[in-house]
C-alpha cells in the first residue's frame, strides 16, 4: 500500500424519526440511529426493508417526509453541510460514469472542484488506485472492467474525496468470495487509516460480522435492534435469529 489519503477524521451522524413513503407505501417508519464518529455501522435487513433508502437520506439524495438527519449536529438540509463535510458513497452498481475512463472517474471530484492541476490530479489518481490495489488501468473504460474492479474503482473514486462519512451500498454484492474479502479488507483498512465514519448496507453476513463495530437490523422500515456483532448473535428476536442463521441444505428435512 502506498501513502494513505489525509482526512480530518469522521463525524457523527444522527438519524431522528425518519419517515419516508413512496406512492403511499411506507418504506421508513420512524428510524432512529446514532452513528459515532469513526465508527463502522453495518445496516442489515431483508430486501425491501428500506436500507438503501436510509442510505440515500443520509447522503441527501432523498428528502424525508418527516424526521431529520444531523451531520455533526447540523441538519443535512442546511445549505452548507455538503461544503463543510466530505461525503463518499460506493453504489451497489458502482455508478461509474461509463463515458469516462477510470482516471477521469477517479479524478472527477478533484477536476470539477479544481483541486489541483492535471499532473497533480493524475498523480493522486494513480496513488488512490494503488490503495485499492489497482494498477495501470487508468485509460480503461468501466465497460472493460470486471465487477470487482468496478467496485474498487468506485471505492477509489470515493476515497480521493478524503471523506469524513463513507457510505457503502451492498459493496460485496455480485462479487466472488475472494473479491468480497478484498473489499471487506478495504473497508476496514480505510476506517483504520482515516477514522472515517462508515455506514455499510449489506446482506453479506461475513462482511457484516467481519467489519462492524455495531450492526443495525432493519425490518419493514423499522430498526429492530442496534448492537455489537456479539449482541446481534445472542439476540432472542426470531426475525433476527432467522435472518442471521438462514441457511440452505439440499438434504435438510
Amino acid at each position: 500500500m502506498s501513502q494513505s489519503p489525509q482526512s480530518n477524521g469522521g463525524v457523527g451522524v444522527e438519524v431522528r424519526g425518519l419517515r419516508k413513503s413512496f406512492s403511499g407505501q411506507s418504506v421508513l417508519k420512524g428510524i432512529n440511529l446514532s452513528i459515532k464518529p469513526g465508527e463502522i455501522l453495518v445496516v442489515m435487513g431483508a430486501s425491501g426493508s428500506g436500507k438503501t433508502v436510509l442510505l440515500k437520506h443520509i447522503i441527501g439524495l432523498e428528502e424525508p417526509d418527516a424526521g431529520e438527519i444531523l451531520i455533526a449536529g447540523e441538519p443535512i438540509s442546511c445549505a452548507n453541510v455538503f461544503e463543510k463535510y466530505r461525503f463518499g458513497m460506493v453504489f451497489q452498481s458502482g455508478a461509474l460514469l461509463n463515458s469516462m475512463t477510470v482516471a477521469e472517474n477517479v479524478g472527477l471530484y478533484l477536476t470539477e472542484h479544481r483541486l489541483g492541476n492535471p499532473a497533480e490530479i493524475a498523480r493522486r489518481v494513480k496513488e488512490t488506485l494503488s490503495l485499492v490495489d489497482l494498477h495501470n488501468i487508468e485509460g480503461k473504460y468501466p465497460a472493460e472492467l470486471s465487477g470487482g474492479m468496478k467496485k474498487r474503482v468506485a471505492i477509489a473514486r470515493a476515497l480521493i474525496i478524503e471523506p469524513q462519512i463513507m457510505l457503502y451500498d451492498e459493496p460485496t454484492s455480485e462479487l466472488d468470495p475472494l473479491s468480497a474479502v478484498t473489499i471487506s479488507e478495504e473497508i476496514l483498512s480505510l476506517n483504520q487509516r482515516t477514522h472515517v465514519t462508515s455506514v455499510v448496507v449489506t446482506h453479506d453476513r461475513d462482511l457484516a460480522f467481519g467489519v462492524a463495530d455495531r450492526i443495525a437490523i432493519i425490518d419493514r422500515g423499522e430498526v429492530l435492534l442496534v448492537g455489537t456483532p456479539e449482541e446481534i448473535r445472542q439476540s432472542a428476536n426470531d426475525v433476527i435469529k432467522n435472518f442471521i442463521n438462514a441457511d440452505f441444505r439440499k438434504d435438510r428435512k
Binding site: M89, S93, A95, E112, R157, I161
Partner: protein, 248 residues
C-alpha cells in the same frame, strides 16, 4: 403538463444562472459541438438542398403561368431564411441530437450516475445540462445559416435545370439579393436560437427525470423529441407574430 413546463422553465433559469461557469465547461461544450456537427452536417446539407429544390419545383411553374417567375429567387430565399431553414433544421436536430441527449442523460439517471455526481457535490445542471444547452445554442444557428445557403442553391439548381421553370442562376440570385435582407436572415437565426434552447432544455429535462431501466430511457427519448417538436411549432407561430413587429 403544466408541472412539466414549470420544471423546464426552472431548469432553464438554473442553466442561465450558471452561464458564468461556462468557461470551466468549455471542453465538454467543444465535445458536444463536434458531436452535433458530426451527426448533422451531412443530413442538414441533403435536407436543405431538397427543401430549396422542392419549393422552386412547386411554385416555379405556377409563377411562370402567371408571368411572375422572376420573383422565384426571392420566394425561395425568404421561405428558407424566415421559416423552413430554422424550423426544418430544429426538427431535424430535435430528432437527431435531442434524442441522443435525452438517452445519454436518461441512462445516467437510470444507472445512478447522476446520484453519484450529487454525492461528489457536483451540480448535474452545470456538469451535464449547461454544456449541452450551450453547444446546441451555438450549433443550431450555425447549421441554420448553412441550411439557408444550401437551400438557396438547391432552389437555384432546380430553377435553372427544370424546363417548366427555366430561370437562370443569375436572375434567380439577383432577385434573391433584391428581396432578401439581412434582417430576414437574422429573423431566422433568432428563431433558431430560441428553438435550440427549447430542444436543449426539454431533452435534458426528460433525461434527468428518467425513472426505470431501458423502458424509462425509451419513454424519455420519445417524450423529448415529441415535446420539442410540438413546442417548436407552437413557438414558431408566436415568434413569427412577434418578429413581424420589426418588419413594419
Amino acid at each position: 403538463m403544466f408541472q412539466n413546463i414549470g420544471e423546464m422553465l426552472r431548469l432553464l433559469w438554473r442553466t442561465i444562472k450558471l452561464l458564468p461557469d461556462a468557461w470551466s465547461q468549455r471542453r465538454k461544450v467543444f465535445e458536444q459541438l463536434f458531436e452535433i456537427g458530426n451527426a448533422s452536417l451531412l443530413m442538414a446539407c441533403i435536407l436543405s438542398i431538397f427543401i430549396g429544390g422542392v419549393i422552386a419545383l412547386q411554385t416555379g411553374p405556377v409563377l411562370r403561368e402567371r408571368g411572375l417567375v422572376a420573383v422565384l429567387g426571392g420566394l425561395v430565399g425568404l421561405s428558407m431564411a424566415k421559416e423552413l431553414g430554422p424550423v426544418m433544421m430544429s426538427v431535424l436536430i430535435a430528432g437527431r441530437i435531442g434524442s441522443a441527449m435525452a438517452a445519454e442523460i436518461g441512462s445516467m439517471a437510470a444507472y445512478q450516475e447522476i446520484d453519484a455526481l450529487r454525492t461528489m457535490n457536483i451540480n448535474p445542471v452545470r456538469f451535464l445540462v449547461l454544456p449541452r444547452v450551450l453547444a446546441i445554442c451555438i450549433a443550431l444557428p450555425m447549421l441554420v445559416m448553412f441550411s439557408i445557403l444550401v437551400g438557396w442553391i438547391g432552389g437555384a439548381m432546380v430553377s435553372s435545370m427544370n424546363h417548366d421553370i427555366s430561370v437562370s442562376f443569375e436572375s434567380y440570385m439577383n432577385n434573391l439579393r433584391q428581396v432578401v435582407e439581412l434582417r430576414d436572415v437574422m429573423n431566422g437565426l433568432f428563431k433558431s436560437l430560441v428553438f435550440a434552447g427549447v430542444i436543449g432544455v426539454v431533452s435534458c429535462h426528460q433525461g434527468l427525470n428518467t425513472i426505470g431501466g431501458p423502458r424509462g430511457i425509451g419513454r424519455s427519448v420519445t417524450k423529448a423529441v415529441v415535446n420539442s417538436i410540438v413546442l417548436i411549432l407552437i413557438l414558431d407561430y408566436f415568434l413569427t407574430r412577434f418578429l413581424m413587429i420589426f418588419d413594419k
